[in-house]
């Protein structure tokens, strides 16, 4: 460790907001939702001429919220260290999904690290534990090489915690290598679409079974830490950690599709929720730290 590394670490560890993260040297963003939406927005689907052209998977998406995690039985839960968290809510229909996204570009194809504190819970419409009502919580990157770096791909690493499916409590991390067929939108030849969060083609991450703290009634939540390391040079995942568990990533791969003509150096990050019942699924992010080696 160099002097500058030691100094950087000491400064970060003395800052309570940063001390709970292990960022790479350069912090790209530290989004604490006590400061507002911090650039997280709705994932809208592509269209041309009419919104009817949007795929149904995207049409269902709505805007994330700034939430105090309010509960009918004990009031606002709050975040890890403040009043607000980002809330991603699905519609109350089995299989419904919703996504919050942040859209950036990168300046150096090197290592990046995503860290976040998250939790999830279904809408507390029943006085039951409801631990199998949420299908999944997950996250993804949408990445593409720089315009002069090619040839290369558009690369979309996806990971989800499959909590339950059809009432079975499965509790395992999964990844995805396939998206839906690419479909042109409109007649101008400028826009295409595909639904990378389609329910098919998820694969189990080897050794990815994990029992997360869920708590004992449908309203109490506990916050979880996640960290996902990715190398933009090799376009490979290098490390994945959730709470005390570090998962082997040798068996992991990403959705890889041909590079697109308008997406150079794209660095999008997104979180999503899916419900397994006709009940809203809520995913919450207390804070998100994206850092890089550059």
């Amino acid at each position: 460790m160099t002097d500058i590394d030691a100094l950087r670490r000491a400064i970060r560890e003395a800052d309570p907001q940063l001390s709970r993260f292990d960022p790479l040297p350069r912090i790209i963003c530290l989004d604490d939702f006590d400061r507002g939406m911090c650039g997280w927005t709705q994932l809208v689907g592509n269209y041309e001429d009419t919104l009817d052209a949007m795929l149904p998977g995207y049409a269902q998406h709505s805007h994330a919220m700034l939430s105090t995690l309010p509960n009918w039985d004990f009031g606002s839960h709050g975040g890890v260290d403040g009043s607000y968290a980002l809330k991603i809510a699905t519609r109350p229909k089995k299989g419904a999904q919703n996504v919050a996204i942040k859209r950036l570009t990168f300046r150096k194809p090197g290592p990046i690290r995503l860290e976040a504190y998250f939790t999830f819970k279904p809408e507390a419409t029943d006085l039951q534990l409801s631990e199998t009502d949420i299908r999944s919580f997950g996250f993804l990157y949408d990445l593409q090489i720089g315009d002069s770096s090619g040839p290369g791909d558009r690369v979309m690493p996806h990971l989800r915690f499959l909590n339950a499916q059809d009432g079975q409590h499965l509790q395992k991390w999964q990844f995805k290598r396939k998206t839906t067929p690419i479909k042109p939108i409109g007649n101008a030849g400028k826009t295409i679409t595909h639904y990378h969060l389609a329910p098919d083609d998820w694969e189990d991450l080897p050794g990815g079974e994990q029992r997360l703290c869920y708590n004992e009634i449908p309203t109490k939540v506990n916050w979880h830490y996640l960290r996902f390391d990715f190398d933009l040079a090799s376009m490979q995942a290098t490390r994945f950690q959730v709470n005390d568990r570090v998962f082997a990533m040798e068996g992991f791969d990403c959705i890889r599709i041909p590079a697109m003509k308008n997406l150079w150096c794209m660095l999008n990050l997104a979180f999503f929720a899916e419900t397994d019942t006709d009940k809203r699924a809520f995913a919450y992010l207390d804070s998100v730290c994206l850092s890089g080696e550059f």
Binding site: A59, T68, P70, E123
Partner: protein
């Protein structure tokens, strides 16, 4: 720092018939809101008033008291100002048989 100011699209290209409402939107941080409703297609039938509803928990709803016209033609826009609405907010309407509107509903919220 400037106070939070958010445009949230809460219904996009949704067709309303019968009992209809936007999804619950949590915005307890906001002191005021304007709701805009735009018709994306030519509405059908006799349109009712839209109403603002508020909720403590996003599950049990009360009429806030504000009512406003739904837009009567494609691309027409109507709006309603709201303040002091607590935590959850939605727009609801009860459409008679044969009435239908495809709309874009946006909330413009300020802390």
């Amino acid at each position: 720092m400037l106070p939070e100011n958010l445009t949230a699209v809460v219904a996009r290209n949704e067709s309303w018939t019968g009992e209809a409402a936007t999804e619950p939107y949590e915005a307890g941080w906001a002191k005021e809101a304007i709701v805009f409703v735009r018709a994306l297609k030519e509405p059908k039938g006799q349109l009712p008033k839209a109403r603002i509803e508020i909720s403590a928990d996003g599950m049990h709803w009360c009429r806030e008291g504000s009512e406003f016209d739904l837009p009567a033609a494609k691309d027409a826009v109507t709006f309603q100002r709201i303040s002091h609405f607590g935590n959850f907010l939605r727009v609801a309407a009860t459409l008679a048989d044969g009435a239908e509107i495809t709309l874009l509903v946006t909330f413009h919220l300020k802390a």
